[in-house]
Amino acid sequence: MAEPRTGVFICNCGTNIAKMVDCDAVAEAASSMPGVAVSRSYKYMCSNPGQEMIAQDIADHGLERVVVAACSPRMHEPTFRRAAETAGLNPYLVEMANIREQCSWVHDDAVAATEKAEDLVRAAVLRVAHHEPLERLTVDMCPNTLVIGGGIAGTTAALELADAGELVYLVERQPGLGGNVGRVDLTAPYLDSARDMLTDRITRVVEHPDVDVMVNSELKRLDGFVGNFKATIAVHGPDGAEEERQVDVGSVIVCTGYREFDAARATHFGYGKLPNVVTSFEFERMLRAGRIETKEGGLPQYVAVVHCVGSRSEEFNGYCSRVCCMTALKYAHEVKSALPASYVSDVYVDMHAFGKGCEDFYRRSAEVKTLFLMYGKGEHPVVRRADPGDDCEMLITVDEQLSGETIELPADLIILMVGMEPREDAESVAHLVNISQDKDGWFIESHPKLDPVATTTDGVYIAGACQAPKDIPDSVAQARAAAGRILGKISKGKLEIDAMFAEVDEDRCSGCRVCNEICPYSAIEFDAAERRSHVISALCKACGACVATCPSAAIKARHFTDAQIFAEIAGVLG
């Protein structure tokens, strides 16, 4: 084939490149490369005059391809693509040769560096000849959203979206909404009622015209891609009947929350054996019932709260569950106000009083005369039944760090602050919506700091304690953030998809299905009827794994085709 007319532009980058690479020589050498119609060396290609030069040459010489030898494409590829676009050349017909970061800056032999620069330019020239003009795709954004989980995060996200006038499908596995917060009495540090918070939200959600609540339901399948998901939901009727519903959604928010650590696993606390050793959630039930009492129905004189049960231990979970410390202090307040004659002790490792109002709350807990006992990280208190003569039912033995003594603490009621764990179904949920879990099983956000609500799968967001242990304000914030992100997408109406993605040549695909398992984004869909595999371009992130794997060369990586890379190989090898 006749090579397309190509322009080569060698940037001196002031002296950054020129001091080690003989740019004029490279430009000279380039001029005799296949298809090269014009070849220049210039001080700053990225400067406005530089970009105008490119645009001008495209017009004057009718260039069909452009090669810019300059810095890293990770730096200025967008710049030069724009420059070409202004001159009416498809941006994907531009190729860069990195002769700065990977040549002039890393070598000290001018001759060798210049030689290398020539090779890199040749590679770019040969490669760009195989480039094709590419257009970005746009797909419609379905404005509906699927919210999985009806806890504080789920209901919040649902309301946020519905109040903005968008339709929300809220799927809850339990018969009722509210999740774990629904099991709590008051909340730290302001001691306001969780019930009041929830009931208001729940009634609003249930009555909201734009929220379709499905309780006793679970997500069965999620097909499609961002803006165009198809969700299959199984709704269990009261009589055990199961009805399947199919809904179209553009986005998914996973708010599946957490489950509490099983206290029986930490045997040294005697949970399950001693009747008056209870978990924080069992104690919340007492508080909600408005009566703190022992199993025997008596009023406890000594109440002990044990922190970090299942958290921050080598034995169980290494992480901090974040809400227990303040909840424990809350118990001190609630017990004291219910039973002024009682004595409350807090057996803790470290007091984590982060967050708004929490330090003050910790201070105030001294006013109710809470006795704090500190045990060492990696150690654990041991609970045993008290001896007959004692004025208490149980004794907690603690290697107390602040006194350096081994202390026996009297107790009639022991509350174990059980930590948070990923739900038992977290893995299956992750698989359903194609997101990943970290080593502890929490769902992974797309960036721990800069993008804590999105996931590696476009259109799937996470909010609440399913991502990591979280308190109510953080869960709510994350839920609203996710909702906000979705509303932003909805308001655009359309989604733009990068022009770089893989495509299957169906005249070549034999349906061997080798590629199906390869894609980390499940972007390859097998059409059983046609016996062909398709790439869902909106899901494809253009890694090219399937392309390299397809034994029939039936999959093509746009902008990274075999032909382009072969040309590049031939180019660098002169």
């Binding site: 990195n98 990977q102 890393v106 980390p520 390299a548 090898l573």
Partner: protein, 144 residues
């Protein structure tokens, strides 16, 4: 004069290519023998590319990707990890020395590491001498 090998490097865009860029921005010097070809993910590196590079006259091929577990595409580098062992065995059957093809994990922050790898590989290949492939393919033209 000593023999100067030509190395073709296939680097993933997100970790290794950035790592190589970092070597540049930190002005870490290394041997000019390598020619880098950028791919989005090491998983895009078809074994054919490696063989093609050797057939086209490369004295060595360096394949770099994100460290296992850190792949930008979450699992891409595992494909590379699976392909290389058998590829190396096969190339050995063709009589190509093991050192000529090398797989390394280089993160975006490991500019120094990348430079060291290139220097080390260049040195080994200098000792090893030119690739037998080119000579074998050129050699038989006349004599059958």
């Amino acid at each position: 004069m000593t023999f100067e090998p030509k190395i073709v490097g296939f680097l993933c865009n997100w970790c290794s290519y950035s790592g190589a860029d970092l070597a540049g921005t930190s002005r870490i010097h290394y041997a000019p023998n390598i020619r880098v070809i950028r791919v989005m993910c090491s998983a895009r590196i078809d074994p054919t590319f490696v063989i093609k590079a050797l057939a086209d006259g490369a004295d060595g091929v360096l394949v770099c990707g994100c460290h296992p577990g850190d792949c930008h595409y979450s699992e891409g580098n595992y494909k590379t990890m699976r392909r290389m062992p058998l590829l190396k065995r096969m190339l050995a059957d063709f009589g190509i020395e093991e050192e000529r093809v090398r797989l390394e994990w280089v993160s975006a922050s490991e500019g120094k590491r990348f430079a060291d790898i290139v220097d080390d590989m260049t040195e080994r290949l200098r000792e090893l001498g030119p690739s037998p492939v080119k000579m074998a393919l050129a050699g038989d033209a006349g004599e059958r």
